[in-house]
Amino acid sequence: MTEWLQSASPLTLAVIRALLLVVPILILVPGLIWWERRLLSWMQDRIGPNRVPTITWKSGSKRSFFGLVQALFDGVKLFLKEDITPASVDRKIYFFAPALALFPAFVLGGTMPFAPDKGVWKYLTPVANLDIGVMFFLAVSSLGVYGVVLAGYASNNKYSLMGGLRASAQLISYELAMGVSLLAIVFSAGSLKMTQLVGAQEQPLWGVVPWLQDWNVLTPFGFVAAIVFFVCMVAESNRAPFDLPEAENELIAGYHTEYSSMKFAVFFMGEYAAMFVFSGIFSCVFFGGYNLLPFNWSAMGLGAVANLQETLAPLTFLIKMALFFTSFIWLRATLPRLRYDQLMGLGWKTLLPVAVANFILVGFWMIMQDLYGTGAAWLSWAVVAVLLVALYAGWLKARKTTTIERRTITLVDPRRARQ
């Protein structure tokens, strides 16, 4: 296998790598939908889809496989449903929008490595090991808004248009905080390359604990950046509690109100694929990529486990992706939808300042480490962080104006009032 890959032409390799990214996602999407529906119903004390492949044996006993094929049959149903194109839509853009919505979902993962740069995996992942890996991800995720906005515009429906406008405002707002939170990580790792970001996380923890890995989420600035990134990630993929573009109690179904049959299915698929790939990026940047646990096995004297980890890297990466995907579902089951002003307030007044402060702190940390060593860096980082938090708390207190609203209602007995 390795020899054949070595001798294969670059074009063949590129095609293989792209297929290795896209095909598993396409295959997994129905499974993800099933998982979301089952987990959601479990969290809401329902049963959920558990019937579809029910096989009755000759003996009369029935067996169903947890409703695993439900999503597949839903897909078949969507294929066979009547495809309605409303009369007054902007036809070309109307047909083009779902395709445009699907495109970024798959291209997002273009620089995402799902296995280490060793052995046979060297030839199979990532699709393109670009020098600008993280920026590529940001650029593509900024294209994600087009599909939604164009769908909203082309549908020629007020609710769709409002959904599209909401989506664009939301995505533009949260992109900024996302970029800045990633910037802090890029700053500390010193590279934009995804593979090097993952590689930097395999170093000893904080440079001192050799048997633990330096996952970004385990460092203080990485932890802050991870929280900011996660919130932005949920907002970028238009998921609850950030699903204002398709808020069903206000906008029918938002931007895809006028879409039916397969075109709706494409939107649906794009959303799930994007969530899944976002989970992968999240685990790459903050959670050590394809390493299942933050242990340096070889440093612990367990070379065999390290080798096993290396061989099974795609599997562990898949497990981690599924884990973060599950957290999306968990959020959906837990939090109610944000109001529009809350959405904008969270994005611009909370996440962006936090991300920028974090970024400045990382810069400060790096300068102190260069000048005075690691201990001084930790100390000064803590001091500055406390100062910033105190400053923010003080500012909050200063601008707080308490106005207690008083409403007095006097109940008047009409008979007595007449007297």
């Binding site: 853009i93 020098d131 164009l150």
Partner: protein
């Protein structure tokens, strides 16, 4: 024709066609979309030349900026597109087309023919990467870089002042 030339030709054609589309489409939304397509194919040409940072900035900056423009188009001009007045065919259009053709042939002869046999110069390897651009940007050209950021700040403040007369 190798792969690079093929990608260049394809993206060049798409870029030119969509650039024509920007002025040719009647619907403002389609014009904005073809502008996005132009920028996108230009970005691919940059990628093709090894200027990765430039390409990705092209997508990020222009896709974001055009998105805002596009939003204004959708929100403000939405009804302007519906009331189209049918234009009469102007016979002068033919003469204009003929003139454009003559100018195109002239330009092709003057500018393109001498270029046909020049060797294709390739960008020096790794010159378009952030590793190459970053240090130069923050050492040699740090002043222009900072001044540009101040210029952008002035733009932001100015737009806020224009939009909100009373803060």
């Amino acid at each position: 024709m190798n792969g690079r030339e093929f990608v260049f030709l394809l993206c060049g054609l798409v870029a030119v066609a969509s650039a024509v589309g920007v002025v040719a489409f009647r619907s403002p939304v389609r014009s904005a979309m073809s502008l996005v397509l132009t920028f996108f194919s230009l970005a691919i040409i940059y990628f093709n030349l090894g200027a990765e940072l430039l390409g990705v900035s092209q997508i990020m900056v222009y896709a974001g900026a055009i998105m805002v423009l596009f939003l204004f188009v959708v929100m403000i001009l939405r009804h302007a597109g519906a009331e189209r007045t049918p234009e009469k065919r102007d016979p002068r259009g033919w003469w204009a087309g003929l003139g454009a053709l003559v100018i195109a042939i002239f330009l092709f002869k003057v500018f393109m023919l001498p270029l046909l046999n020049t060797p294709v110069s390739e960008a020096a390897d790794k010159q378009g990467t952030p590793q190459a651009i970053g240090p130069v940007l923050f050492t040699t050209y740090v002043w222009p870089f900072e001044v540009a950021s101040v210029l952008l700040l002035i733009g932001v403040v100015g737009s806020i002042m224009l939009a909100k007369r009373r803060l």
